[in-house]
């Protein structure tokens, strides 16, 4: 189980990092989501992997980690999940606004000058560059 779990965290994290380093805004947002999965799992697994452990207090059972699942990482991750949702929503809307204003979905709000293909038909807004500067 430990091996599977750590492999899962590694893959999610690696995919997240790869996407975050990409030039397109949607890729970055997806990357952040994947990274937050990885981090949430990582924090969660700090509380040890316990199958069929009791998450709810049962009268008579001694209150220690041998008899219950660890509540602390769970409480932390619960907060993180909701905050992660809020951040994803914000990034998504920023992404949309940026695409609408700049006419490109490049993370810098302008196509990389080194990459601009000569006369390529990339879906680029026709707004003059000067307008884009002030947008």
């Amino acid at each position: 189980m430990e091996l599977v779990m750590s492999a899962a965290i590694g893959v999610l994290g690696g995919c997240g990092v790869w996407l975050v380093l990409r030039p397109r805004t949607f890729q970055v947002v997806m990357g952040l989501s994947l990274m937050s999965y990885a981090v949430n799992l990582f924090i969660f697994s700090m509380g040890s992997l316990s199958i069929d452990a009791e998450p709810i207090i049962v009268p008579g059972v001694p209150p220690d980690l041998a008899h219950y699942t660890d509540p602390m990482p769970q409480a932390l991750v619960l907060t993180a999940i909701v905050i992660g949702f809020a951040m994803t929503a914000l990034f998504l809307v920023v992404l949309l606004a940026s695409r609408g204003l700049t006419g490109t979905d490049h993370v810098d709000g302008a196509e990389d000058p080194d990459d601009a293909p000569p006369g390529a038909a990339v879906a680029i807004d026709t707004t003059p560059a000067a307008d884009r500067e002030h947008a």
Partner: protein
């Protein structure tokens, strides 16, 4: 009134003045005068308590952990300064009422003025050195704002910036010096410092500490070589100059020197640095003042010179000299304030400050002329005026000093020479402009100013006269009280008499008078004819040029640094963040390695392996497809999210699984709504990747592999070890008895860590509002304005169920009939589920978060199948009100604990016996959880509805309409 209230009064007054309407000149001026006058009266009444070495103290806890107290301390010296600051402040406020034009935003002026006054009083009343530095920097800041008051003028902006840079940097040096001083003494308390003379002098850090403190004081007092900022600060309104030059700002520097004189003085280093800077400032500034043609600049140089005199006196390491310095601080404040005001009157009534153009003004403004003549005579040190007395004391100090032979010779010479120069510039200020034929080409017809504009000058000049004629009677007691703390215990013998007989100092005065008159007669024609435009010799050694050059060089350096090391490209920034994390992580492993632990492994099950095979495949798929196939990537990411959700359930975390599931639904809906406005990327349209692109991708892949591998290794290492120390058992054992619930995770969220949760729902609300605000101004890209292709392929006249949602009255009429009916049916059931989840949350998996999300999902389902218009015709969910109500409830619940004397957010469990139901535990945390519930509903709905509303908004023209032109 207590000292603390007195200290706070100007600041309170400042805020009040700032709130006045822009044209409330009279109200603002009256208010400011009243505040300043109240300070004068209150301080005045305190005199008996400080007169014989008494000290008034008041202190509050500030940072008790670091031993810092906010302490206010007033001894005789601080009292004298406080009186000067508030007294001259009152007069300047009256004067400014008439000086300022009604066209200026006068309340802003008075607001800044009061704040500056408060900061100055903060310096002199500080009983703690850190606190003193704080107020010190505050005066730099407010003087910056005051000097730059007319911010439309470039000279005002430049002068203000220069003042801020010089005095602010000096303040930082002072801060460093004070930190050293506090380290040497072991306390920042002024009383402790003043009692630690021996320790300070014998400490090896004494020289660097002294130099740093002196840098602070000398920059503030505009002493050589930092004098250049003061003449440029002349761009300020004249009342500001009058205040800055007389009782405040530059006086803060000499205040500090005098304040720390008992513990820092009496060393060689002190003598050379302080006396040297003072003597150079005294002489050079007096020399430069002679050649100025602007009334205010002349006075500015004279201020530097007089401050130099005070500094020089303090540097002499003699107690008598220190007393003379205190006396001259008082005298200089009175005559310099009146002179500036007179200069302001002349400028105000004639329209110019050019000495060459002004002549014979005595004929048209005799009263102002008389006042200015008396005040400048005091400045020159004419007998029977206050300036004469302190100047005599200064002369005698230079004569009777015992030091190296050349110093004993040079100091009286410098003093006499400076005296000659002072007479020359005083004559230029007074005789030159008031006598002779009246100028005819002035911008305005000169006449006497308004009655009350003159009153402050009259009072100040009267003070000069009274002190000059009867010093012992008028200021003797005040000077004794003020000088006593400076010399530290016992006052030396001195006599405040007008006539000491014919002695060396008097002879020096006579020489200065005669030399000054002769010098004036020589110099005046040269200046008047315009043959001398610059200050001879001195002009080349201008600190300003050095200052400007170093600013330019610094700017160029930082721009170069940004060019070399900075980037505006997000990719590079993220790359470096990731690389830095990797390097830090691997560096931490140096010498240890990761190493697996020997904790008993949980046996793997086939199902779990299969589950994560799918999860991993989906994650990789999402990473690969996110560029061109966003929908596919989104699906796959959602699957990975579900696998995460199942993992939570697998490892006994039902709460997490529930929340993750709900969030996953909401996130997916959110992305689907958003993707509608993100134009497709077409793979065919993108050029073939170059070698460079491949290299870049290779690099990123390597980094991603390293990060993923590192994360995997790290988590494996953690998972295989035991973590013996944990605070979790605390929560397990306290959840039921103290939190009143058996679901430990929920109890932690709404009880133990409720402050975190409060912060979290606040963030959620803020994000929702930010999303709403961003989308209000949202302009979708042209390519996505038209209806999607699937809707466009249908001919307009086609009879079909697939109705365009923009035109259909109810989307549930057509092909969405079944989902629509189902979703409407589900709404009440979802509500019931939410209530159930909420109610049991404290004892079983569930809680406010999940319940809120369930309600939000049920509502958004209505929007999706029935359309925004249909839903909003029937109900308006008012998400913002939900957010507000939720946050308010959560905060109020927390505040409720305060009412019973418990800390914020303490919970209480009530035992209520209900009929039929029996005894029920009602923890106050349940109210908090209702707040969370409401805030989550509101925030989620606001975000989703704001996005959904985009499709019914009027948008800009579709791309095709403009394709020809673009």
């Amino acid at each position: 009134m207590s000292l603390a209230l007195l200290l706070a009064l100007p600041f309170v007054g400042s805020v009040a003045a700032a709130l006045l309407p822009t044209n409330a000149r009279n109200t603002a001026a009256t208010w400011t005068t009243a505040v300043a006058l109240a300070c004068v009266v209150q301080f005045g009444l305190m005199f008996p308590e400080v007169r014989d070495g008494g000290v008034l103290r008041q202190s509050f806890h500030w940072v008790p952990d670091m031993g810092l107290e906010f302490s206010i301390r007033m001894d005789g010296f601080a009292w004298m300064f406080a009186m000067l600051i508030s007294g001259i402040g009152t007069l300047v406020a009256v004067y400014a009422r008439y000086y300022m034009s009604p066209a200026d935003p006068v309340p802003r002026f008075f607001s800044l003025f009061l704040a500056f006054m408060g900061a100055m009083q903060g310096i002199v009343l500080s009983g703690n050195l850190i606190q003193l530095v704080f107020f010190w920097e505050l005066t730099s800041l407010f003087s910056f704002l005051l000097i730059g008051y007319w911010h439309h003028r470039s000279d005002a902006r430049r002068g203000a910036r220069m003042a801020l840079v010089v005095t602010g940097t000096g303040g930082l040096c002072l801060f460093a010096g004070v930190l050293l001083l506090g380290r040497i003494v072991g306390s920042y308390d002024l009383d402790a410092v003043l009692g630690a003379r021996e320790v300070i002098h014998s400490h090896p850090l004494y020289p660097p500490m002294l130099v740093l403190v002196l840098l602070g004081a000398l920059t503030k007092s505009a002493q050589f070589p930092f004098q250049f900022w003061l003449p440029r600060a002349m761009a300020a309104p004249t009342p500001v100059s009058a205040y800055l030059h007389s009782a405040t700002m530059v006086k803060a520097g000499v205040f500090l020197l005098a304040r720390l004189w008992p513990v820092l003085a009496q060393s060689e280093l002190w003598f050379w640095v302080v006396t040297g800077a003072g003597a150079l400032s005294l002489l050079l500034a007096a020399y430069a003042a002679m050649f100025q043609n602007d009334l205010k600049r002349l006075l500015a140089y004279s201020t530097i010179s007089h401050l130099g005199l005070i500094t020089l006196l303090l540097g002499l390491n003699s107690e008598l000299a220190a007393v003379a310095a205190v006396f001259h601080i008082m005298n200089h404040a009175t005559f310099k304030a009146s002179l500036f005001m007179a200069a302001g009157v002349i400028d105000h009534e004639t329209g110019t400050r050019d000495i060459r153009r002004l002549d014979g003004l005595y004929k048209v403004m005799p009263i102002t002329g008389t006042l200015a003549l008396v005040a400048s005579a005091a400045m020159a040190g004419v007998p029977l005026l206050n300036g004469f007395l302190s100047k005599e004391m200064f002369f005698s100090e230079t004569v009777y000093l015992s030091s190296y032979p050349w110093v004993e010779l040079a100091l009286p010479l410098i003093a006499t020479l400076a005296g000659i120069f002072a007479v020359v510039y005083a004559l230029r200020f007074s005789f030159d402009i008031f006598f002779g034929p009246l100028s005819t080409d002035l911008p305005r017809e000169p006449h006497e100013p308004a009655r009350w504009m003159r009153v402050p000058i009259e009072l100040l000049v009267l003070a000069c006269l009274v002190v000059g004629v009867a010093p012992a009677w008028s200021v003797g007691a005040f000077l004794d009280a003020a000088a006593l703390p400076v010399v530290g215990g016992t006052l030396p013998e001195f006599s405040l008499a007008v006539w000491h007989g014919f002695n060396a100092p008097f002879a020096m005065s006579l020489v200065a008078m005669a030399g000054g008159i002769a010098g004036y007669l020589l110099l005046a024609p040269l200046l008047e004819s315009g043959r001398l435009r610059r200050v001879p010799i001195m002009d080349r050694f201008d600190g300003r040029r050095l200052f400007d050059r170093s600013l330019v060089a610094l700017g160029a350096l930082s721009r170069g640094g940004v060019r070399v090391a900075g980037t505006r490209r997000l990719q590079m920034q993220l790359l470096w963040v990731v690389v830095a994390c990797l390097v830090a992580a691997f560096a931490a492993l140096q010498g240890h390695g990761v190493g697996w632990g020997d904790r008993p492994r949980v046996p793997a099950s086939l199902e779990f392996v299969l589950l994560w095979s799918i999860g991993i495949a989906c994650a990789i798929g999402a990473a690969v497809q996110a560029k061109f196939h966003r929908l596919a990537a989104l699906m796959m990411m959602a699957v990975a999210g579900l696998v995460v959700c199942l993992t939570f359930a697998w490892f006994s975390a039902p709460d997490l699984a529930l929340t993750q599931l709900a969030v996953e639904v909401v996130t997916t809906v959110l992305f689907l709504l958003g993707l509608r406005w993100l134009p497709k990327r077409i793979p065919e349209a993108v050029r073939h990747p170059t070698l460079r692109d491949r290299a870049r991708r290779g690099r990123d892949l390597a980094i991603a592999l390293a990060a993923g591998g590192g994360l995997a290794a790290l988590s494996y290492a953690m998972l295989t070890r035991l973590a013996p120390q944990s605070i979790s058992p605390f929560f397990l054992s306290h959840a039921l008895p103290e939190g009143g619930g058996t679901n430990v995770v929920n109890v932690m969220l709404v009880d133990f860590r409720s402050l975190d949760t409060l912060g979290e729902i606040t963030v959620l609300g803020a994000v929702a509002l930010a999303v709403y605000a961003l989308l209000r101004r949202f302009r979708p890209p042209r390519e996505s304005v038209e209806a999607p292709r699937q809707q466009r392929v249908l001919p307009a006249d086609l009879k079909t169920d697939l109705v365009n949602p923009r035109t259909a009255p109810d989307t549930a009429l057509g092909y969405l009939v079944v989902p629509a009916v189902l979703s409407r049916l589900i709404l009440p059931i979802a509500g019931l589920v939410a209530v159930h989840l909420f109610m049991r949350g404290h004892n079983q998996p569930g809680g406010g978060f999940v319940a809120g999300l369930v309600v939000a999902i049920a509502l958004i389902a209505q929007y999706m199948v029935a359309g925004t218009l249909w839903v909003e015709q029937r109900m308006n969910p008012h998400p913002v009100r939900w957010i507000a109500a939720g946050l308010a409830l959560a905060v109020l619940t927390g505040l409720g604990a305060l009412a019973w004397g418990y800390p914020f957010l303490t919970t209480h469990t009530a035992h209520v016996a209900l009929p039929l139901v029996g005894e029920v535990h009602v923890p106050s945390a349940i109210l908090f959880d209702i707040g969370v519930f409401a805030a989550v509903i509101g925030a989620t709905l606001l975000i989703l509805i704001a996005l959904a509303h985009q499709s019914i908004r009027a948008t800009r023209k579709p791309a095709t309409a403009e394709a020809g032109g673009g």
